[in-house]
């Protein structure tokens, strides 16, 4: 039986270092260990190019080699006959390998020494199973295809975005055994992602943000490719990503408006999968574990399939026409507005909103909230439609894809988490009610000179 590359993908997880043999044009052999061999597709692998060394010189002069790889569970060894094709120094493959190498370097105490200069892509001509007394492969933890199907079924049954987001994470836990996961939506205008749903954390972290390109999640979003790391590495940790994005925004020190990212303090395995639909980025599905090498290529495939369906479902929900504009001008119902007034402060600078002294939200969701409470205070309105928000130029929603529903979910969840005196309650498709339990005093803080 002919071996295929995808049948030996565990060999490319980086658990056991691989080796490459090359030869110079005069026939002198060279052999060296490799930090990384990456599965590219059924016919190609990519090798990490880190140093200008003899291997590099040889492969440029004589572009043929043999690579020795090992299975991390059975111990089995394989020889790959490969031909060098090209080197990629940016793009999805390069970023995937760069992130994975950072994990390997950290694990091996080589942080600062291992640096990816390029991803050398090789065509695999032949795979030879090397004989030996290897272990039998144990049965898989679960049937990933069946698990993916079960997740898919749950997603298909969802009729609104909030349920869809929650069911995705519930499905991952129930069928794939993933206990720490989150969903982030893409804010194209702000070039960042904001968290709308999480599962398995002490704090939900809904509303926390990651800039495109920062950390595992930001790189996955920027490059439209899954990023998977099997070992703990500070280089891709969120603490740093969040801190840097705050500094870059110029808001550091001005207001405490950062919602802490909810991720594990020390994630040993991380996998971020971009949620794509019709060629555009919708968001990122992120999962993590406190165990080394917890997610493999097959897990990545399963999550890419789930994220694909999720992306299409979100896209369909976003494009579904809401009911024609029926002016909803409901006045405040008999909601008990008792107790002292709560001061709602809105900072025009970044649309951040504070309830009393507590930070609530910023950005588009902050602008939406300010509009709602302003309408409430000025006109006693409590009934609203998504459509009127979508058409309001003050909210600066993008023309094509506004993610309005996702921002309303984010706002609703932030209000619920704060046990706020203002809540949002869905009253129908594209409609919701503002429920206010305390008198409100609004303070609009203008942009500083």
């Amino acid at each position: 039986m002919t071996l295929t590359l995808d049948a030996i993908r565990p060999c490319f997880e980086g658990a056991i270092p691989s080796a490459i043999a090359t030869c110079d044009p005069d026939g002198t052999p060279n052999v060296s260990y490799l930090s990384q061999v990456e599965y590219v597709d059924a016919g190609h692998v990519a090798l990490s190019f880190q140093f200008f060394n003899t291997t590099r010189r040889n492969i440029l002069a004589n572009p043929q080699a043999t690579v020795l790889v090992s299975h991390p569970v059975t111990g089995a060894n394989f020889r790959l006959t490969v031909d060098y094709l090209r080197t990629e120094t940016d793009g999805p493959l390069f970023e995937r390998m760069k992130a994975k190498l950072a994990g390997v370097a950290s694990h091996e105490g080589m942080a600062g020494i291992f640096r990816l200069r390029g991803s050398d892509v090789y065509q695999v001509r032949e795979i030879e199973a090397i004989p030996g007394q290897y272990l039998a492969e144990p049965p898989p933890r679960r049937n990933l295809l069946a698990a993916t199907r079960a997740c898919s079924g749950r997603l298909s049954a969802c009729t609104d975005l909030a349920t869809l987001l929650d069911e995705t994470l519930a499905g991952l836990e129930a069928h794939l055994g993933i206990h720490h996961a989150m969903l982030l939506m893409h804010d194209a205008a702000g070039r960042r992602l904001y968290t709308v749903a999480t599962r398995g954390y002490e704090r939900s972290g809904v509303g926390s943000e990651i800039a495109l390109g920062d950390g595992v999640i930001g790189v996955a979003a920027a490059e439209f490719t899954p990023i998977r790391i099997g070992f703990m590495t500070p280089e891709y940790a969120y603490g740093r990503a969040v801190r840097e994005s705050t500094q870059a925004s110029g808001l550091a020190g001005m207001l405490e408006t950062e919602i802490p990212f909810p991720g594990l303090a020390e994630p040993h395995s991380q996998l971020a999968v971009p949620i794509l639909a019709i060629g555009r980025l919708i968001g990122v599905l992120y999962v993590e574990s406190s165990e080394d090498l917890h997610f493999g290529y097959d897990d990545e495939d399963a999550l890419v399939a789930v994220a694909g369906q999720l992306g299409m479902a979100i896209s369909l929900m976003q494009s579904a026409h809401e009911p024609a504009d029926e002016t909803v001008d409901g006045l405040a119902p008999a909601v008990g507005k008792s107790g002292p007034a709560v001061v709602v402060r809105h900072f025009v600078e970044n649309d951040s909103v504070f309830l009393g002294d507590e930070y609530l939200i910023k950005g588009v969701a902050g602008a939406i909230f300010w509009r709602l409470v302003s309408e409430f205070v000025e006109r006693q309105r409590t009934e609203f439609t998504n459509r009127e928000l979508r058409l309001d130029p003050r909210l600066r929603l993008p023309d094509i894809v506004d993610n309005l529903e996702a921002r309303l979910i984010l706002l609703e969840r932030r209000l619920n988490e704060h046990k706020a005196c203002v809540r949002l309650a869905k009253t129908g498709r594209g409609r919701f009610r503002l429920v206010v339990k305390r008198p409100l005093t609004l303070v609009d803080v203008p942009r500083s000179a």
């Binding site: 043999a21 052999p29 080699a65 043999t66 569970v73 090397i130 004989p131």
Partner: protein, 167 residues
């Protein structure tokens, strides 16, 4: 045979690394049409002259290497300590098969055990490592070559530098 008067390239540290049971080793030779091939090596020993190195291989695992050695005697051997990643590459041009001694067989078998035990302390599965580095007793064969060149291969600024010869 080592050329008389040649300077030994290997110092005590290098000999210890090459002979270490905690070092992974791979042998490479130039195959047909200058495509190099490779195989795991097991126990290694360095002769008293510090120039001759004997490596044990598993014959059926090394089949392409044996074929290649029919046309070229050039050889490269890398040894890498799996704990420290201290690495060394040795090169020669006179590789030849030699008789396997009982000591070679014992060393090859012992290496797999020692390697697995040490690997377990680093977090590798011991059974997996034993399987990964098991040289089957009936398959043990040995190659010998003279070290003509030696290079530091430990990742870092010194990687690729020749190992200076010492008297």
């Amino acid at each position: 045979m080592a050329a008389t008067g040649e300077q030994a390239l290997l110092d005590d540290t290098s000999v210890a690394l090459v002979e270490s049971t905690h070092a992974a080793k791979v042998v490479a030779v130039p195959g047909p049409a200058l495509r190099a091939t490779l195989v795991h090596a097991y126990a290694c020993r360095v002769g008293p002259d510090r120039q001759r190195v004997t490596v044990t291989l598993d014959r059926s695992q090394a089949a392409p290497v044996l074929v290649a050695l029919g046309t070229s005697r050039r050889i490269a051997l890398v040894a890498c300590h799996i704990g420290s990643l201290q690495s060394l590459q040795l090169k020669g041009d006179d590789a030849r098969f030699v008789d396997v001694t009982d000591a070679d067989r014992r060393s090859a078998a012992a290496l797999g055990e020692e390697f697995a035990r040490f690997g377990a302390t680093l977090g590798y599965g011991e059974a997996m490592m034993r399987a990964h580095m098991a040289c089957r007793p009936g398959e043990v064969m040995a190659l010998e070559f003279t070290v003509r060149q030696a290079f530091i291969q430990t990742p870092g600024p010194s990687a690729g530098q020749p190992l200076a010869g010492r008297p």
